[in-house]
């Protein structure tokens, strides 16, 4: 039988891992698309994606809560079509974290793609390679540092998220109760020792992750 501490931390990491994986799958192509976009609408898309960076999490959480609630059109549709209820569920947390952490992943990767000289993909084309092949064999390997920092930022950010999770996830142990919520909860109950267990764990993990990224990137630039 796992302790409440372990259950909460496992859930926290599961949420961060699932969110980051989904973000990488969708965010890397999105970053490439934005980097190569010439449309006058580009700033609009960029702004939309960047919104979560400046909005209070509770604002996003509030709108997601409204949108996902079974009374709304979207919530009703998801529930009848996919039997998916996004409020007060793990799936809902994943969707919310995805939206909230998207800019933290997309922006560094987009910058990475934009920094690549266009002649790299042009050279690949003249060597008889398709767009897809060029993307995977030439472009992607040259933005790995950016993908690494973007992925780690998104992961760390999802672990640290509080406002959105509270708004649409609530505080259901084993289901939606992540570490950042648990800290708040324990403090409210005046269990400072328990709160410190969570808080210290998050502190140490965040430090170790960022340190690791910085060391890896430093080694890469020295090799290049």
């Amino acid at each position: 039988m796992l302790s409440a501490y372990a259950i909460t931390l496992l859930l926290t990491f599961k949420l961060a891992a699932v969110t980051t994986a989904l973000l990488l799958i969708a965010g890397v192509p999105l970053a490439r698309l934005l980097a190569s976009m010439r449309s006058p609408l580009k700033p609009v898309f960029e702004t939309l994606i960047a919104m979560p960076m400046v909005l209070p999490p509770s604002v996003i959480g509030f709108y997601l809560l409204v949108a996902f609630s079974p009374q709304s059109g979207l919530g009703k549709f998801l529930e009848s079509a996919a039997n998916l209820r996004l409020i007060f569920s793990f799936e809902g947390l994943v969707v919310a974290s995805f939206i909230y952490s998207l800019p933290f992943l997309v922006r560094p990767i987009q910058a990475g793609f934009e920094a690549l000289p266009p002649s790299l993909s042009e050279a690949s084309f003249t060597l008889g390679k398709s767009r897809m092949r060029t993307f995977f064999s030439v472009l992607l390997p040259n933005v790995t540092p950016a993908i690494l920092s973007g992925g780690v930022l998104a992961f760390a950010h999802t672990i640290g998220e509080f406002g959105i999770v509270l708004m649409i996830g609530g505080n259901i142990p084993g289901k939606t109760r992540v570490a950042s919520i648990a800290v708040y909860d324990e403090v409210e109950a005046l269990h400072y020792g328990n709160a410190n267990d969570y808080a210290l764990t998050l502190l140490v993990i965040s430090f170790v992750i960022l340190l690791a990224v910085s060391i890896v990137n430093r080694r890469r630039t020295r090799l290049a």
Binding site: L120, E122, T126, K129, S137
Partner: protein, 291 residues
């Protein structure tokens, strides 16, 4: 036979410019494209390669239409069969020299093997190094090897030697000449360097204000046809000094510095830094009393 008849509106630094080019190349010819910066030379190369789309016209290579605006044909760059040497070389930084060439060879039919290419371009010792650790001249050789790997129908070179020192330039120029003699593709090189053009190209196209202003053999284009010189060198003026009634010019011919004398009249249009042609019609015979 390569024939290009295209128009394209370009946005240059000085405003929009209309590029209208008609040129024909023999299938095995080494030709040069000469013109001021901003005259549309790189754009023309990119349109031949399929990396930029002309507004209208046709590009036909050995009877095969690569681009035809009237018939809606626009072959993707990957299907055209061009070798492109980019100004920044565009080597893939994450791949070794060998991997760069192997990537080019993938899916190619016939032609040279990776080992042969490494040998031809004297890259054997560098095969496992990444491009970032190579000198400019070495990177240039890799770019060339990669561009010719797929036996292209036309090799396009965008000022490939301009960033290198004079000695490396001379050496690579010879290598380029060797390849072009042994292979069967046409080559079009963008160059500002008269020495390079005289050494490499049979034909030169002079691009000015978006149009081919003149074309012909380099000696005809740059020296005029009337001159029947015995000695003729492309050179660059480094210094002009006045000495009594004449002027002493210090000029660079390749790596050699030479001082020549010029009259004020000759110097009317010549400034320091200009590219010039130095020619001598005949030697003055030395006349001495016998006995």
């Amino acid at each position: 036979m390569i024939s290009i008849h295209i128009t394209k509106r370009l946005s240059a630094a000085t405003g929009p410019m209309d590029l209208k080019v008609d040129l024909e190349l023999d299938g095995r010819e080494f030709a040069a494209l000469y013109g001021k910066s901003g005259s549309g030379k790189t754009s023309l190369l990119k349109m031949i390669a399929g990396l930029m789309t002309p507004d209208s016209g046709t590009i036909t290579v050995d009877g095969e239409p690569w681009f035809d605006s009237a018939r809606g044909i626009n072959l993707h760059a990957r299907s055209r069969g061009v070798g492109f040497v980019f100004q920044d070389y565009a080597l893939f930084p994450h791949m070794t020299v060998r991997k760069n060439i192997e990537y080019a060879l993938e899916g190619a039919h016939g032609g040279l093997s990776c080992g042969e290419l490494l040998d031809t371009f004297e890259l054997g010792g560098l095969a496992d190094r990444k491009p970032g650790t190579l000198s400019g001249g070495q990177q240039q050789r890799v770019a060339l090897a990669r561009a010719v790997a797929r036996s292209p129908k036309i090799l396009l070179l965008d000022e490939p030697l301009s960033a290198l020192d004079a000695e490396t330039q001379t050496k690579l120029r010879e290598e380029l000449l060797n390849i072009s003699r042994r292979t069967s593709f046409a080559a079009l090189i963008v160059s500002h360097d008269l020495g390079e053009i005289f050494a490499l190209a049979k034909t030169v196209f002079m691009l000015n204000n978006g149009a081919i202003e003149r074309s012909g053999r380099p000696s005809e284009i740059f020296a005029g046809t009337a001159l029947s010189s015995k000695f003729r060198f492309a050179a660059q003026v480094l210094e002009i000094e006045k000495a009594d009634v004449v002027f002493v010019l210090t000029i660079a011919i390749g790596n050699n510095l030479v001082k020549v004398i010029a009259t004020e009249e000759e110097l009317q249009n010549i400034r320091v830094g200009d590219k010039v042609v130095v020619a001598s019609k005949a030697f003055n015979p030395i006349v001495m009393k016998e006995g």
